[in-house]
């Protein structure tokens, strides 16, 4: 296993100029140096991975490459020519296109329109739409990535993963836009995809390499190493080196955080659990809702129960229903012996339930508000700081949690939308912890978009909470996560809980065991 550790960027190959080159890029935000002299080279016909912790500056760098971020200093060269990118159109004309970390589709347009948006070409003639052409253009893109979406379906009626495929189909339109080999940037495209879709995507990425360059960002390091030819690493807004594709995830990780990490990031055994049989903390009996039926579920205090299932298995709705955010039609839920009122989120909160939604941007956080406000949004937190908010007390409380969760933010008063995705997620999680009285946590993809370090930290946190007796329901990002974190795994398929698999430390099931139950 050779690890190619280099601290200097690779000099551009003498023969062909690199597809894209970045020299000394700097970007300051109030209180943060998002980019601090980044150098990066994207060769032609290669897949370049970009790795780094949350907040390392990956998205900022990539946005600079598509003209969305105006760098304070530094140069961008495209195919040996220095360019100034002022807008997305500018970048597209230079053959650079990007799939953004946060989904960026117009929900009320059809998938076809989204795919050709901004580069309709023959789809629009003198301002008049030609729906059949549009449809054909979109279908061509969708065929490329093997997606079976109806191009004329409204985007907001598609599933999250389908929408991601639409985005990828859309960025591939760049091929049509330039005669040059394009550079396609994918910022964490896989964080919401299932493995089947990920595989389709990778096939596409490999196909793209034939005629284009691809920049690929993911926090799943194995995935990065699997698909990329080379992985460049960012840390604190600087390029710290690169590794080749045959490196081990651990090496990559080490480079990302600048020190040695540990493989054991699921922290099994941190939680201390008494084995005496007690009444479960959460008892779900025959619960029916919009997309699940007759679900029975027990979660004991201090237990982490993972729920796995394919798309449409109804696990997400089940979670929301337990939090009172989705209506139920039948069934009963008992929390610590008291019947739970499922009529609304407030009742659930009051009963000590916390919920971390999967769609962070729209449901998890209030973007323009500060980290502190986001953290103390719950009624419980309000009780903590008293009916009259004492700024000092609130600040201490918030600062404690910023420190405990190592949230990278310039200040507690910074608007949460200015934080990197991972740090945002930590704030959302912290919301349920500040009051200190949460009894049941419903975590829907809590580590979506988090780097290994942050992820590990979240895992540790879950274990610690479990140790203090918090019951946790986890909808994991991947089967591995579900297996690693859960004490017990419930498999859901078609809206029913079909199997239960014990997963105690030391006797974990394999992913295959789960998959067998899921189909």
């Amino acid at each position: 296993m050779t690890t190619n550790l280099q601290t200097e960027p690779v000099p551009p190959a003498p023969a062909a100029p690199p597809a894209l080159e970045v020299r000394g890029l700097v970007k300051h935000y109030p209180g943060v140096k998002a980019l601090d002299g980044v150098d990066l080279v994207v060769r032609q016909n290669e897949v370049l991975g970009l790795a780094g912790e949350n907040g390392a500056g990956k998205s900022t760098l990539l946005k600079a490459l598509v003209g969305l971020v105006r760098p304070d200093a530094g140069e961008i060269w495209v195919r040996g020519e220095r360019v100034r990118l002022r807008s997305v159109v500018d970048a597209a004309n230079h053959g650079i296109g990007m799939v953004f970390q946060e989904q960026s589709l117009v929900p009320n347009l059809t998938a076809a329109e989204n795919i050709v948006l901004g580069s309709e070409g023959p789809g629009v003639r003198t301002g008049i739409y030609r729906w059949s052409t549009m449809r054909r253009l979109a279908q061509e893109q969708l065929d490329k990535i093997g997606s079976h979406i109806d191009p004329l379906a409204r985007t907001d009626s598609l599933s999250f993963a389908d929408r991601q495929m639409v985005e990828i189909a859309k960025v591939l339109r760049i091929e049509e836009r330039t005669s040059h080999p394009p550079v396609i940037i994918l910022d964490e495209p896989t964080s919401v995809l299932e493995s089947q879709e990920i595989e389709t995507l990778f096939t596409q990425v490999r196909r793209l390499r034939e005629f284009a360059s691809v920049v690929f960002v993911s926090h799943r390091l194995d995935e990065v190493l699997d698909v990329c030819d080379r992985v460049a690493v960012l840390r604190g807004g600087r390029s710290v080196g690169e590794v080749s594709a045959d490196a081990e995830p651990a090496d990559l990780h080490r480079m990302m955080i600048g020190s040695t990490g540990s493989d054991d990031h699921y922290h099994e055994g941190v939680a201390v659990r008494s084995d005496e049989p007690r009444r479960p903390r959460l008892e779900v009996r025959g619960l029916c809702g919009p997309s699940f039926r007759d679900v029975d579920l027990d979660v004991h205090a201090g237990e982490i129960v993972g729920i796995v299932g394919v798309h449409g298995s109804g696990r997400e709705d089940l979670c929301r229903a337990l939090f009172g955010a989705e209506p139920t039609t039948a069934g009963e839920v008992v929390l610590d012996g008291a019947r739970l009122d499922l009529s609304g989120t407030r009742a659930a909160c009051a009963a000590g339930i916390g919920y971390v939604p999967a769609e962070r941007k729209t449901e998890g956080m209030v973007g323009p508000m500060s980290v502190a406000d986001n953290m103390t949004l719950t009624k419980q937190a309000a009780r903590c700081t008293g009916p009259i908010v004492r700024p000092g007390k609130q600040a201490t409380l918030v600062d404690t949690w910023i420190e405990r969760l190592r949230i990278r933010t310039p200040h507690r008063g910074t608007a949460i939308q200015r934080l990197s995705g991972g740090n945002q997620q930590k704030v959302v999680l912290a919301r349920w912890l500040v009051a200190g009285d949460v009894r049941l946590l419903l975590l829907d993809h809590p580590t979506r978009g988090l780097d290994i370090g942050a992820r590990s930290e979240v895992y540790r946190l879950m274990r610690e909470l479990a140790a203090t007796g918090v019951a946790t329901v986890l909808l994991a990002d991947s089967l591995e996560e579900a297996i690693g974190m859960s004490d017990r795994i419930v498999v859901m398929s078609d809206g029913r809980a079909t199997a239960q698999i014990a997963a105690p430390a030391g006797a974990k099931p394999t992913p295959l065991d789960l998959v067998k139950e899921m189909v």
């Binding site: 912790e53 600048g258 955010a325 407030r346």
Partner: protein, 330 residues
């Protein structure tokens, strides 16, 4: 068990983002707009800048300030209350009708009644999921009809002018009592929003209601509360109008709706919710009042007055709105 070594505290010690001078200025823009407008009016007609003239202006502005203050909270929550003016008219009628029987408690009764009506509106909004625009638009015509019927379609003179006399007095000889009350309302609402979690709930609801709800904030309660406050403020403004007109009338305040919303927006509160504050509406209401009375008084002809009013009000908003807080302007 080994804990993984995590990222060290960020090497570049983050500096606290301190507001720049420009940023500080933007938060005072409503006041600056007010001063600029006053200066401009004084330049056109030096007689305008006298103590008695200013006193008259703030006295005039008092009901508008109260109306706008209440509705601001609804706007901050992302809704809108179009019923304030009609409710205020109805309240003037109720006040005049109830005064002979209720005497000293009429004020409290009227404010309680309008608060209750506001509450009902809020409940209809959150329970039936009808957009606030429609609930309050419907409310507007319903209250107008009730006012017309209970007043028998005419003004009702005050049976006892002393009941509202205190509102027409002057504090320290110059500060009209009605305006003092308006300032109190603004102060109390600002304090409550600033010192309790209500403030951040209101803003969270305005920015992103679903996130606020999933964070377990009492969304429905806060919204109903906002409508209740808005109703109560309409009742209080009605008493001010009655004290000025010595009667209640079923259409007395109807024309205050657009000025009140204009006051909120001119103050720099985002009509889409989230960003803004009550004191901004105070400044906005003063700007709007100056425009309404100042332009004709300094001698602008009627047709040009409207054109100027339109232009200035747009310019004022262009000045006061803090765009750094808003991603898109709708």
């Amino acid at each position: 068990m080994s804990t993984p070594v995590l990222a060290q505290p960020a090497p570049d010690t983050p500096v606290v983002a301190r507001p720049t001078v420009g940023r500080r200025l933007t938060s005072f823009m409503p006041l600056i707009a007010l001063v600029v407008l006053l200066a401009a009016l004084t330049v056109v007609d030096p007689g305008f800048f006298t103590l008695s003239s200013l006193t008259a202006a703030v006295r005039t502005a008092a009901p508008l300030v109260v109306l706008a203050a209440g509705a601001t909270v609804v706007v901050l929550c992302g809704g809108i209350d179009l019923s304030i003016a009609a409710l205020c008219s109805l309240a003037t009628v109720l006040f005049a009708l109830w005064l002979p029987d209720l005497g000293a408690v009429t004020l409290a009764a009227v404010v309680a009644a309008t608060a209750l009506i506001g509450l009902l509106q809020g409940v209809a909004h959150v329970l039936l999921r009808i957009p606030s625009f429609i609930v309050t638009l419907g409310g507007m015509s319903i209250y107008a009809a009730i006012a017309l019927v209970v007043s028998d379609a005419g003004p009702i003179p005050l049976s006892d002018r002393d009941a509202t006399h205190w509102l027409t007095l002057y504090l320290a000889g110059v500060l009209p009592m009605a305006f003092v009350v308006a300032l109190l309302v603004v102060g109390v609402v600002s304090l409550v929003l600033g010192l309790t979690p209500l403030g951040s709930w209101v803003r969270a609801i305005g920015y992103s209601e679903s996130a606020a709800r999933l964070a377990g904030s009492p969304v429905d309660l806060v919204k109903v509360g906002a409508f209740t406050l808005s109703g109560a403020c309409a009742g209080l403004a009605a008493v001010m109008l009655v004290s000025r007109n010595f009667s209640g009338s079923p259409t007395m305040a109807d024309n205050l709706l657009l000025p009140a919303v204009a006051a909120i927006v001119v103050g720099g509160t985002a009509i889409t919710g989230g960003h803004g504050s009550v004191w901004r509406s105070l400044a906005g209401a003063l700007v709007v009042t100056l425009l309404r009375v100042g332009l004709p008084i300094v001698g602008v002809p009627s047709a040009y007055e409207q054109i100027l009013y339109g232009a200035i009000i747009v310019a004022a908003v262009a000045l006061t709105l803090d765009r750094s807080k808003l991603l898109v302007i709708k």
